[in-house]
Symmetry: C2
């Protein structure tokens, strides 16, 4: 049926149909990408495992923070964020990563398990002016695309960091 | 008395005495430096906190390794050692650091305490040919000069690493 219908369309018309279909598909893909990643979306911190390791802590079951942040976490900083630790103010382009891992325990030794999530703070003063100049995001597990935060979640991050205003909203200090 | 004795020495002779004294002092200092730091001494890994963080583990009181290695430890690698993790063989100039920290615990959260020691492995195939091409050292606490290992201690390090021969004597793997 489809083939027969195709045969009824003259060649130039068929070309026009194909061109329109391709254009429509392009527009749809572009719209979808806009929907999936708005202009102020915090990018995945590619290569952060090669950045500077700032410090580490383990949040255990006895902590009230366990449900949200339980596990072993490392903080990593890119070069600009390292300038920020030194200067006390973080320049635009600073990126801090809060990497949260599951833990395994065997015979008294606690080791690193699966990655639970990759929390990110990006400093872009103008883009994120409403949240202290910082954009917040959290990527699920090993994913570079699955984002855990909606607008409400991002504001919750900022509210938690807000009391650190004098330290440019950053909790961690670089352990020398 | 000394001044009077000095007056008895003619000027060229006095010069010779001074030159000899200076030479003797130089030789003594040089000998002392040789004694303090032999040619095969592993240097302190300056700047290792900016190197790549390889992985982390916590050795607790239940572990039989607690007495020797109890605390939170991080492994750091310089760029050459990172090549080694990728290639499986570590090139000369590779340096791995085993940084051991005390831990503090408060309300279920374990954080990093004082530095207990900085263990170092340096790959120089010829210099350390007898210990798999690796030189071993351990610096006490925050010190860059107080070395914990004598010849026996360095051999003990190697003996422990020896079963890892197929992995170029390295235990750790880079956690991606």
């Amino acid at each position: 049926m489809a083939i027969n219908a195709g045969r009824l369309i003259s060649l130039p018309k068929r070309r026009r149909v194909v061109a329109l279909a391709v254009a429509a598909a392009c527009i749809a893909t572009w719209s979808l990408s806009l929907w999936a990643k708005p202009d102020d979306a915090v990018p995945y911190p590619e290569g952060y495992r090669m950045w500077t390791h700032v410090r580490t802590a383990l949040i255990g079951p006895q902590s009230p923070a366990f449900e949200s942040f339980g596990g072993l976490h490392h903080i990593y900083a890119n070069d600009k964020a390292m300038e920020g630790y030194r200067a006390g103010r973080f320049p635009d382009g600073s990126v801090l990563v809060f990497e949260l891992l599951e833990t395994r325990e065997n015979a008294g030794v606690t080791t690193e398990g699966q990655r639970k999530r990759v929390g990110v703070m990006v400093k872009e003063s103008k883009l994120y002016a409403e949240t202290g100049g910082w954009g917040f995001e959290s990527f699920l597990g090993d994913s570079r695309t699955v984002r855990r935060l909606n607008a409400e979640g991002r504001i919750a991050c900022f509210k938690c960091h807000e009391p650190q205003k004098d330290r440019d909203f950053v909790f961690s200090e670089f352990r020398k």
